[in-house]
């Protein structure tokens, strides 16, 4: 459960105050499928960074499962990022020297998970994204879609409650983009809260709930405007079926 109230984020840039977020109020219940849309500079990435505990609000309150995140110290925030939140990035952010297996294993290595258990969980995660047989390939030997699926496996391997995806299909062609979206939606269907930031209308409109941002403020939230129901759910390309 995510609760933002009156969240503001102000950057000081060369003596100017840039209001990236102004008075954001947002509540995201567990299991939600939410898209955040808006032009670049609208504050959607800043919002995502705050939701992911990579950044802190300048003012206001962010409660994650009841914990007031703004008051927690850096080490606790690291723990939250490691255990409760998964990230999926537009540019994948796989470590190029590591195999797919080692990339998925990475968060568990630093979290101190025992070796035997790590192998088991990596296999499960790679099987879930249909890439078990590519486990010993390095990112350079994988296609874009495969790389993003490895990144998703890495994002969920620690068993987070929330998955934050920043333009997850931005670097992909439409076929592999579709596969990645299908994968993310399947994980949402299994109970994971999914928040997708995008300026791709087609992608954003697939979510159950849409938030539209401009100039650091939420200008439209489908959960509040009664008229707009859940977005149209077009037929999906079926999952990768591995």
């Amino acid at each position: 459960m995510i609760q933002l109230s009156s969240v503001r984020r102000v950057f000081e840039l060369g003596g100017h105050s840039v209001h990236a977020l102004r008075e954001i109020d947002l509540e995201v219940p567990a299991g939600e499928y939410l898209s955040v849309m808006g032009p670049s500079g609208s504050g959607k990435s800043t919002l995502l960074n705050i939701l992911g505990c990579l950044d802190r609000p300048t003012a206001g309150s962010y409660r994650l499962d009841g914990d007031e995140v703004g008051r927690l110290d850096e080490t606790v925030l690291s723990h939250i990022r490691g255990h409760r939140i998964g990230f999926v990035f537009q540019s994948f952010h796989l470590v190029p020297r590591l195999t797919a297996f080692a990339n998925v294993e990475l968060p568990m290595v630093f979290a101190g998970v025992a070796r035997g258990e790590r192998a088991e969980r990596v296999e499960r995660a790679l099987r879930a994204v249909g890439l078990l047989e590519r486990a010993d390939h390095r990112p350079a030997q994988l296609s874009g879609g495969e790389r993003q699926r490895v990144a998703i496996a890495r994002a969920v391997v620690m068993g987070p409650k929330v998955l934050l995806a920043d333009e997850p299909t931005g670097n992909l062609d439409s076929v592999s983009g579709g596969e990645v979206i299908a994968l993310l939606e399947r994980m949402n269907a299994e109970g994971l809260t999914l928040i997708v930031v995008t300026h791709d209308l087609a992608l954003g409109s697939r979510a159950r709930r849409h938030v539209r941002m401009a100039d650091g403020a939420v200008i439209e939230d489908s959960a509040r405007s009664r008229g707009a129901g859940p977005g149209p759910r077009a037929s999906l390309p079926s999952g990768d079926g591995a």
Binding site: G52, T75, H79, I80, F110
Partner: protein, 402 residues
Amino acid sequence: MNPADLVRFSAEALTGHRLRAGLSLLGVAIGVSSVILLTSLGEGARVYVTGEFSSLGTNLLIIEPGRNETTGGSTIGGTGVTRDLTLEDALSLRRRVPRLRFVAPIAAGQVSARYGERERVVIVVGTTADYAPLRGVHMRSGRYLPKGETALGQRVCVLGPKLEQALFAGENAVGKLVRLGDERFRVVGVWSPRGVSLGRDFDENAHVPVAAGMRMFDSSGLSEIDADVTSHDQIEPARTAVLAVLKERHEGVEDATVVTQGSIVGSLTRILAILTAALAGIAAVSLSVAGIGIMNVMLVSVSERTGEVGLLKALGVTRAQVVAAFLVEAAILSTAGGMVGAGFGYAGARAVQTLYPAFPMFPPDWAVALALLVSVSVGLVFGVLPAWRASRLDPVAALSRR
């Protein structure tokens, strides 16, 4: 996080920039191997020199004119006028200090030696019959200098085998007359080859009776008096007795120095130990240069891997873990460099030994241990700044890079 996993992660990170890592590793290796080689040289010099001095004879006392706190060097001390050691001093030491087994006055100098058409500039040592047992001179043919005080001025001489060869070219020298300086001396004997000692070839010298030598060099004093005792524990009492006799003979002024082999070796050992430490210090400078090389490589690595650091933070890796990962990476580099350098050092020492078997070239254990320890700490110390930088990277900014 498991330490083994940390080391594995950091070691794998090094494979991402092999050439740069290899070059900075080489820097440390050169630093460590130069520490090892230079200290081996210093230690080798110490062992070599003390070995050479031991070959002089262990119970030797060398009495020199002048009062010096150290061995050798200037004879003008703080006591004012220095008197020469005279032949009479030597003769009276012989009579009055019974602990001394052999006493040989020495007046040495360089003159030209001639036989027929052949001429050489040689070192002539004016001494007595006691010199032969003192310095381990054994005769190959003829006999050594005659004994007794009446023989001190005789014009006889004993030649080293190389000098004999140089002047007589295979002829037997014994019984022949040879010109030394302005006088002619009869050759009474030739000693067996004795070899090089402290870089001087003893076998090229000639020995004459001491008074004849002083006449030859036109000198009223001796350059030194050599003496020995029968056992090592006699050295100190003998030294005291010698100084007492000379003080009495020199009107109460203590103006002579007794140098024992122990004191020579002691001061040489001190000097060479300082030399070794200085060499190690110079080599250590190259290690710190290598450390800067590591820091440079690590800084480049951090800035190249900004995106990775951002990712690690997003994955829940703490600041302390980021610091640890980069520190371990630097330490692996410098430790590996240290080990490669130790290998180079031992190989180099082995090579020098093969080329110059007479020179003892052993890397001292303390230097090897110290060099390895320093190389590990070089990585840790010079890795701190890059690691700290990496840990302070803002994850949002770091992730947006690349």
